[in-house]
């Protein structure tokens, strides 16, 4: 277990970190210590202050998309899990409905993304429909290849990663606790805030870790749904890799990793996950 962990997780991570501190030129990397990967990344950023340079804007944009997606998947995921855990009484229906949630996963990521295009496009179903009803006269441009479509696709892809761990936490909540709260005069909302949310916290944190780590590193969805117009941290790494600037790509990977760890550790600061498990 430890060996596999070391071989497939720690070792590559160490390599990436080492490579990020190597020197490079236009066509090869030079195994000598240099922070060029980092300095090149932030080139001109200090000089431009207080104007934000492109790279900082990109990271900010990624964090913004990530937080938007996170809050939406959390809200939808929590609601779905709550419905499954507390309103669906029979075990059979719980299993059936949970499996229903997995149906989108029967097709690949890319197909599910592309499927949005005929729906949201300039001549897509939504625009045609709204025009047909006379609600709009011009097709809505922000439906596709926009932040809206990116967040929509991300939420669509990743809500299930929220539903499963939260449902898993909720199903373990003893139903008598809810009766006990009701007996003590708690309203439905008070029970939710005082009993269900605190007890579902481990699931909320695990789901959040899934969604945040995936979205922070994503560049395919943001690329396709943003019409390659929206920059993302993942895209920077890809671009550097395509330019064969491995140390620079590695440096960006390390920065991205740092930001992600920061978000997650501040999350776990709120909830002591070790204690909750």
């Amino acid at each position: 277990m430890m060996l596999i962990f070391a071989l497939f997780f720690l070792l590559p991570l160490v390599f990436v970190t080492i490579v990020s501190a190597w020197d490079y030129n236009e066509y090869e990397m030079i195994p000598a210590f240099s922070l060029r990967g980092y300095t090149d990344t932030f080139e001109g950023c200090i000089a431009d202050l207080p104007e934000l340079c492109t790279i900082l804007k990109t990271y900010l944009k990624t964090v913004k998309l990530c937080l938007l997606t996170w809050s939406l998947t959390l809200f939808i995921g929590f609601t779905v899990a709550y419905f499954l855990a507390f309103h669906v009484r029979s075990k059979t229906w719980q299993i059936v409905l949970t499996l229903l949630c997995t149906i989108p996963f029967w097709t690949s990521n890319v197909i599910r993304m592309i499927a949005w295009i005929p729906l949201l496009g300039r001549n897509g179903l939504v625009n045609k429909g709204l025009q047909g009803m006379g609600l709009i006269h011009q097709p809505l441009e922000w439906l596709l290849f926009s932040e809206f479509s990116v967040v929509l696709a991300l939420v669509h892809l990743f809500t299930f990663f929220m539903v499963v761990p939260i449902f898993n936490s909720m199903i373990r909540i003893d139903k008598r606790l809810i009766e006990a709260a009701y007996d003590a005069g708690a309203t439905g909302w008070q029970t939710l805030v005082n009993i269900i949310i605190p007890l579902a916290k481990p699931g909320i944190v695990i789901g959040s870790i899934f969604v945040i780590t995936i979205v922070m590193g994503d560049f395919v969805t943001i690329g396709v749904m943003g019409g390659q117009q929206i920059p993302s941290a993942g895209k920077i790494i890809e671009a550097r890799l395509n330019a064969l600037q491995f140390p620079a790509a590695a440096a960006n990977a390390v920065i991205l990793l740092g930001i992600t760890i920061l978000i997650i550790s501040s999350l776990t600061r709120i909830v002591d996950i070790r204690r909750e498990l």
Partner: protein, 348 residues
């Protein structure tokens, strides 16, 4: 705490689950400030009755009256009742004091005030030293005390306890039993306690309500029920009785009221009923000796003899004996349909 006790009255209370009748039109009056045990085998409707009184189960029909108030359609918190759940249902993420103060928090009482009130109740159950602990850090008995304190913080007039002692080991069960009774006396409110253990009901209750198949089989003081069982079910469930058929009548006779005689010593005419049998087991139990007697054509009879009684005759396995009793000590049983009878394993 200025809690005043209230009487409870159930009128034609019925609970149906689909087409199954769990509680069948029961009528029951429990005077204020009494300790009442709802006793019966599992599935007899005692827990459904308690949950209807608590407001966690809708009554299909009938009324629940607490004091002067009809509470049938009120939510649990407005019924002047509080429930202590089986295995306690303490909130695992809240400390002991927050668990106890929960009902006050829901009412919007400020933190300092509700904690002060919770401390008073923790003192009542002798748990003030554990206020900061989480429920998982407490033993079963301690959890029960916390659950009691949590139920009592709303100053209920009737406390409902769902099998409160079943999660404890036998030694602790006896101790907590004594404490429950003491607490009920001190608070002066009614306790309604659901149990399937007849010993628990006998030890605690002012009123025992024995239920079977959704109906009340018999109710009364423990002594009344024990000495005058009216049905075969009651006699078997309450234990310590032999159900003996003589002719067309069935009697319940307490084990320790049976008289054994050696056939040789008996005059041809006896003044009471007598049944011949063969001793098939003798068990020394310390304070008494149990003699099991096989009777042809009917179930075994079990007699309890004092040590001195036993010594004078010194029965051995295989001896022929006559079983007799004073007719004044026997209870004539109403014949009930055999369908409602269950073997008295639980009463053993």
């Amino acid at each position: 705490m200025a809690t005043k006790a209230a009487a409870l009255e159930l009128v034609q209370l019925t609970k149906m689950f689909g087409s199954v009748t769990a509680v069948d039109a029961i009528n029951l009056k429990i005077p204020a400030g009494s300790y009442c045990c709802l006793l019966g085998p599992s599935g007899c409707g005692k827990t459904s009755t308690l949950r209807m009184i608590a407001g966690h189960e809708y009554a299909t029909s009938g009324d629940i009256i607490v004091g002067p108030k009809n509470v049938t359609d009120l939510p649990p918190a407005e019924r002047s009742t509080a429930m202590m759940f089986q295995s306690y249902a303490l909130f695992p993420h809240l400390s002991v004091i927050d668990n106890v103060a929960f009902a006050l928090k829901m009412k919007g009482v400020a933190k300092a005030e509700r904690h002060a009130e919770a401390r008073k109740l923790l003192e009542l159950v002798d748990m003030q030293a554990y206020a900061a602990r989480l429920p998982a850090q407490l033993s079963g008995g301690q959890q029960q005390r916390v659950a009691l304190a949590r139920a009592l913080i709303t100053s209920p007039q009737i406390l409902l306890l769902d099998e409160p002692l079943s999660a404890l080991d036998p030694f602790l069960r006896l101790r907590m039993r004594t404490e429950l009774k003491k607490l009920q006396r001190e608070l002066g409110i009614s306790f309604i306690h659901v149990t399937h253990g007849q010993d628990e009901a006998m030890a605690l209750a002012d009123i025992v309500v024995l239920m079977n198949g959704g109906r009340i089989e018999q109710q009364g003081s423990p002594r009344d029920i024990f000495n005058h069982p009216r049905t075969e079910f009651t006699a078997k469930f309450i234990g310590g009785h032999n159900v003996i058929a003589v002719g067309d009548d069935t009697f319940a006779v307490r084990n320790d009221r049976l008289i054994l005689k050696a056939p040789a010593k008996v005059a041809t005419v006896t003044d009471g009923p007598s049944i011949p049998g063969i001793v098939n087991e003798v068990e020394y139990q310390g304070t008494y000796v149990r003699v099991a007697i096989t009777v042809e054509g009917s179930p075994d009879i079990s007699a309890q003899l004092s040590e001195s009684e036993f010594d004078t005759a010194n029965y051995a396995v295989g001896d022929h004996v006559l079983v007799s009793w004073d007719p004044a000590q026997a209870s004539l049983l109403k014949t009930t349909s055999s369908a409602t009878l269950t073997p008295s394993k639980t009463a053993a």
